[in-house]
Amino acid sequence: MSDQPLETAVPFDGLAHQQRQLRRQKLNRATTYVIAILLALWILVPIYFIFSMAFTTQEAVRAYPKSVLPLIPFSLDTMRFFLNSDGIIPGLINSIIVAVITLTLSTIIAAPAGYAISRYIFPGRNFFRLSILAVRAFPILVLSIPLAVLFIQVGIFDSIYSLAFMHTALALPTTILVIGSVFASIPYDLEEAAMVFGCTPWQAFRYVVLPLVLPGIAASAVFTFVLSWNEVFAASILTVQNRTLPAQILFSLSNSSEAYQFAGGFFMLIPALIFMFYIRRYLFNMWGQVTK
């Protein structure tokens, strides 16, 4: 949407039409703001509410009716109660380890494959792409149960490493496709030009392509981290003693107080808040036009 109407758009009754258009644009813009703010509230209000429940006294959690605006007494009581509950701290550590292993492993394995499908035409390329797509269509549940049976047989059941392998398998197809599309967005002409000017293919990749794709790869790694951090199903099937945080909370959900649940819910949310804020820059790099 351009701010200045171009001359070609002006018919013979130029000025009046132009003013009408300007007025309409201003109105459109105001409507857009209203919609944007409503959408933002739709996302923020539930977060604010669970935040206020997570940082208050346990009496306030039980109270009814609740004061809607920030009149709920602030206290670390609920959060402290949650963090001191059984298995929360170990679960948190497990979750972080699993997510970090997953994102490292899947990026290392997927990056070459993503490069291959975006840069080379080779017999079997379409078949590979299609299998990746098909593999993406496999629900996590199909994998979890046979893998649980296998892990029990091999003796690596209930280990955070086997869970990380599983998460990597889940993340891999998406990562390959995302990295593939990131590479595809960099014209091959750039690489070719570098090679015309005397770069080896490796140098062309290292100095021309890599700096351009890094933000995209970082974003895909972030997707992977999110996927692993959020994953509940496989985590609750593959682990018994070494639960990740979501699995631990899910397991104790039915026999825990609302204070525990709300504090746990907000706690699982904190990384997302910080994390989206932190990778904001990468997102902006990836979609450079947005912030212009």
Partner: protein, 456 residues
């Protein structure tokens, strides 16, 4: 854009992912199939003699009623697992004086020896022969050449004689069984671990077999499961509710982002927060809103619409639970669609949009004839992704309904595996979800074809 070159490089580049996917995708997939249609313990071969090497006398299915005719110990060849019905006998290799005063050595059942001396780890070293009770019993105990009562006799020893215990042997009890299946009478031997003996000690049943057999029993069990129907219905209903709402909302969000308002980066940040939020956390988030003393009731009461807190998440208010799950899923997963749509919009050049605007196309016309057609590839990816994810809604349902009042297919898979310990029926559920995913993915790929694909 693409390199027309044939060499081995691309194959080396995709090799690691192929290997990884073979191990963690292809294998589990095949295994899921075999778990759901292959009953590994369906058939037990019955032997003519109490030995695995002997010929088969016939085959009996799991659950067949049998009659016990006799039993015999048989040297245990494998290591002991946690076999349920396994019955073992212990035999000692002993050395001591026989009735004639000569030293003999041979095997005797543990039941005939009272252990008098043990090594520190509990291994018996020395014992005395037990006295036989009863007036007409043979007062002497027989020593055998092998750990079996059918083996040759080495000699006889008197009661209370001291014997050195040299070696131990564990025997597994084999049962001689008689059964009738499909009009055929089968008589033969089978190891105790596969036989469940009833209280009367003369009858029993085949507890499990060693040979697999194709079966549709697990799928039948799934369909007959009382949670199957409600799970299918709720899952499909949620798909139909969630996906369209999500796409409309995501396209609106994407257009807002594309309008490049002031504070655009903050709006983008806010819109993408739910993307990083765990499914379980969202479930809890909406539970905190709809629970009886939650936010929703507080607001209604504050506005004077109700007099007392209404229960929303109970068995009588299923529609509210479904509504809450719907809102929770829309809240959570719209961001991903929005980001896919935004990146699709970025790919549409500003010139195209400006041209459409200059020629007087309104917002709706631009959306309908310019933006949506160009967005097709992005929408296709988003649709497939979202459908598959919507089929796996799980933690949200548990958080909002406890998993019983309202249930979905993924929850039933979990229940079968976790509560009923039935990996087979769980796999059948998983494959059912897979089938729906595949059908919808193929549908989208055909329905929303990209222009290149149509041209090709």
């Amino acid at each position: 854009m693409k390199k027309k070159k044939r060499n081995l490089a691309p194959y080396w580049l995709i090799l690691p992912s192929l290997l990884y996917l073979a191990l963690f995708f292809a294998y589990p997939m095949v295994r899921a199939f075999s778990l759901s249609v292959w009953d590994e313990e369906a058939v037990l071969p019955v032997r003519t003699e109490a030995s695995l090497e002997s010929e088969e006398a016939g085959r009996l299915h799991q659950g067949t009623q049998i009659e016990l005719l006799g039993q015999q110990g048989n040297l245990l060849t494998d290591t002991l697992g946690d076999e349920v019905n396994l019955l073992t006998e212990l035999w000692f290799n002993v050395t001591g004086e026989n009735v004639d005063g000569n030293t003999i050595s041979g095997w005797v059942s543990e039941t005939r020896i009272r252990v008098r001396e043990e090594a520190e780890d509990g291994t018996p070293l020395m014992g005395t022969v037990r006295r036989r009770l009863g007036s007409n019993a043979d007062p002497l105990t027989t020593i055998f050449a092998e750990p079996s009562e059918n083996a040759a006799e080495v000699g006889k020893v008197e009661a209370s004689v001291e014997m050195q215990i040299v070696e131990l042997a564990t025997l597994e009890v084999w049962y001689q069984i008689l059964a009738e299946e499909n009009g055929q009478v089968v008589e033969g031997w089978a190891p105790s671990r596969f036989i469940q003996v009833f209280g009367d000690e003369v009858s029993g049943r085949i507890d499990r077999g060693t040979n697999g057999e194709f079966t549709l029993g697990f799928f039948e069990k799934m369909i007959e499961d009382r949670f199957f129907d409600p799970a299918v219905r709720t899952t499909l209903l949620l798909m139909v509710l969630i996906i369209p709402t999500q796409f409309v909302l995501a396209i609106i969000m994407a257009l807002v982002i594309q309008a490049r308002l002031k504070f655009n980066s903050i709006f983008l940040y806010i819109f993408s927060i739910p993307m990083g939020v765990s499914e379980l956390a969202v479930g809890i988030l909406f539970f905190s809103i709809f629970t009886q003393n939650g936010l929703f009731n507080s607001i209604l009461q504050g506005l004077g619409l109700i007099d007392a807190a209404q229960p929303f998440l109970t068995a009588d208010t299923r529609q509210w639970i479904i509504g809450a799950i719907w809102l929770a899923e829309v809240w959570r997963a719209t961001s991903i669609v929005m980001i896919i749509v935004v990146s699709g919009l970025q790919a549409i050049s500003d010139e195209v949009l400006e041209a459409a605007e200059l020629f007087g196309a309104g917002l709706w016309q631009r959306l309908r004839y310019v933006i949506l057609p160009l967005l097709k590839p992005s929408l296709q990816v988003a649709l497939i992704l979202r459908t598959i994810l919507a089929l796996q809604v799980f933690a949200v349902v548990i958080a909002l309904s406890g998993g019983d009042i309202v249930t979905v297919l993924a929850n039933e898979t979990y229940r079968q595996y976790f509560e009923f310990r039935n990996a087979n029926v769980a796999s059948a559920y998983a494959l059912f979800i897979l089938a729906i995913s595949m059908v919808s993915a193929i549908f989208y790929l055909r329905a929303v074809r990209t222009q290149q694909e149509i041209a090709a």
